[in-house]
C-alpha cells in the first residue's frame, strides 16, 4: 500500500472530504494537523509551494485540494 500523508486543519471542509474518501476506500493515511504542528506547517509549504489545505502527499507526489478523480488515479483505485 502507498504511503499517504494529509496536511489538514480541523475546520477545513475539503480536508474532511479527503479523509472520508480515504476511509471509504480503506486507504491508510497519516494526518498532520498544521493548526498545531509548526513543523508540519513548514513541511507542507516546502512541499506544495503554497499555503492552502488540504495537501496530500502520496509517495512523494503532492496534491492540493480534493479532486476525487485525481486522487483515485494516484492511488490506483
Amino acid at each position: 500500500m502507498k504511503k499517504v500523508t494529509i496536511y489538514s486543519t480541523p475546520t477545513c471542509v475539503y480536508c474532511k472530504m479527503v479523509k472520508e474518501f480515504f476511509k471509504e476506500n480503506k486507504i491508510d493515511y497519516t494526518e498532520k494537523d498544521v493548526s498545531v504542528d509548526d513543523k508540519a506547517r513548514e513541511e507542507m509549504v516546502d512541499k506544495s509551494h503554497q499555503m492552502g489545505v488540504p495537501v496530500i502527499d502520496i509517495e512523494g507526489e503532492i496534491f492540493v485540494g480534493f479532486d476525487k478523480d485525481i486522487l483515485s488515479n494516484a492511488l490506483g483505485i
Binding site: T9, C12, K16, V36, D38, R41, H49, M51, V53
Partner: protein, 307 residues
C-alpha cells in the same frame, strides 16, 4: 425530452428537485456537487429544523433527501451546465462533460461564486498567501501579518477567525464605514491586533513566490500606500453563476436573473430562477428553498397549460 431541468444542487435546487419528483414532473437535476455555498460554513445555526449543523452535514442531508426520490428524478452529479440554447419548442442543455439534454422548461438555481479582486498579483499569488477561506486556512498564518479585504459580514468573521492566529490584522474597506452586523462590527473594532483602513481601494497584491505586501489607494486623497504582510484574505461578495444563459434572460446590473417574485419566472418563457442567482433581495438558504418551490408549483401549472 424532459419536462424540466433543474440547474444546481444547493438548497434551492434540492428543494425544487424534491417537489418536482413528488409532482411526478419528468425532471433532470444537474449539479457539480450538493450543498451550495454554505458547504464551507463551520456552523450553520439558522437552517430551520436543525439547531446547529456544519455546512458539510447540510450538504449531506440535502443530497440524501433528494436521492430518496431517485426513482422519480434523474440526477447528473459531478457535471456542470456549459450552455443553454433555445429551440423552437423548449431548450437544449450542454454540459462540461459533453452530455446533452432536451427539456421543455428550466429552473436555474446555480447560485453565485466569490467575487475576485481583479488586480495585479491576484492570479500569481492565489494560494500563496492570498486566501479565500479563513475557516480553512487561518492556522497557516500563525504569527504572520494578515489583511482582510472587505468589511461586510464575511470579512468581519474572517477577521475574528484570524485573530486567534495572526500577529497583526488589517481590515481593508473601500467605503468609509463597515457593513456587517453591528454586534460583529463591535467585536472586530475591539480586537487589539486590528487596524481598520477605510476608503482603501486595493491596487495590487505584492510578492514573488509568496505574498509580501499589498498596495492600496486612498479613495479620498488619491495617495498610495503599501502594507508589508504575508497573508491576504478576500471577502468582497459574490457574482451570480449565469455565464451559460446570459443572452437568454434579462439580468440586473449585477448579473442577477430578473424574476417575477410571485412566480420566479424570468423574462424568457420557459425559464425560471431561484436562489442567489436571481434578483431576490435576501440571499438566504431558507429563502432560496421557498422561492424554488414557488417556481416548481408555477412550472407545474405552465406544463399543464402549454404541453
Amino acid at each position: 425530452m424532459y419536462d424540466l431541468v433543474i440547474i444546481g444542487g444547493g438548497p434551492a435546487g434540492v428543494g425544487a428537485g424534491v417537489y418536482a419528483a413528488r409532482k411526478k414532473i419528468k425532471t433532470l437535476l444537474i449539479t457539480e456537487d450538493f450543498g451550495g455555498q454554505s458547504m464551507f460554513s463551520p456552523d450553520v445555526r439558522n437552517w430551520i429544523g436543525s439547531k446547529s449543523l456544519t455546512g458539510l452535514e447540510l450538504a449531506k442531508i440535502l443530497e440524501e433527501h433528494l436521492l430518496d426520490y431517485k426513482d422519480d428524478i434523474d440526477v447528473w452529479k459531478g457535471d456542470l451546465v456549459k450552455k443553454v440554447s433555445k429551440k423552437s419548442k423548449g431548450f437544449t442543455i450542454t454540459t462540461k462533460k459533453g452530455q446533452k439534454a432536451e427539456t421543455k422548461t428550466i429552473l436555474i438555481c446555480s447560485g453565485s461564486r466569490r467575487r475576485r479582486l481583479s488586480v495585479p498579483g491576484e492570479d500569481k499569488l492565489d494560494g500563496k498567501g492570498l486566501a479565500w477561506c479563513a475557516t480553512c486556512d487561518a492556522p497557516m498564518f500563525k504569527d504572520k501579518v494578515v489583511a482582510i479585504i472587505g468589511g461586510g459580514n464575511a470579512g468581519l468573521e474572517a477577521a475574528l477567525t484570524l485573530d486567534a492566529y495572526a500577529s497583526k490584522l488589517y481590515l481593508i474597506q473601500r467605503s468609509d464605514r463597515l457593513k456587517g452586523d453591528a454586534v460583529t462590527q463591535e467585536k472586530v473594532m475591539k480586537l487589539k491586533k486590528m487596524t481598520v483602513i477605510f476608503n482603501a481601494l486595493t491596487q495590487e497584491i505584492l510578492g514573488d513566490k509568496f505574498v509580501s505586501g499589498l498596495r492600496y489607494k486612498d479613495a479620498k486623497t488619491g495617495k498610495e500606500e503599501t502594507l508589508e504582510l504575508e497573508g491576504v484574505f478576500v471577502e468582497i461578495g459574490s457574482v451570480p453563476n449565469i455565464d451559460f444563459a446570459k443572452s437568454l434572460v434579462d439580468l440586473t446590473d449585477w448579473n442577477e436573473i430578473v424574476v417575477d417574485h410571485k412566480t420566479q419566472q424570468s423574462s424568457q418563457a420557459g425559464i425560471w430562477a431561484a436562489g442567489d442567482v436571481s434578483d431576490v433581495l435576501y440571499k438566504q438558504n431558507n429563502v432560496s428553498v421557498g422561492d424554488a418551490i414557488k417556481a416548481i408549483l408555477n412550472i407545474f401549472d405552465y406544463l399543464h397549460k402549454n404541453f
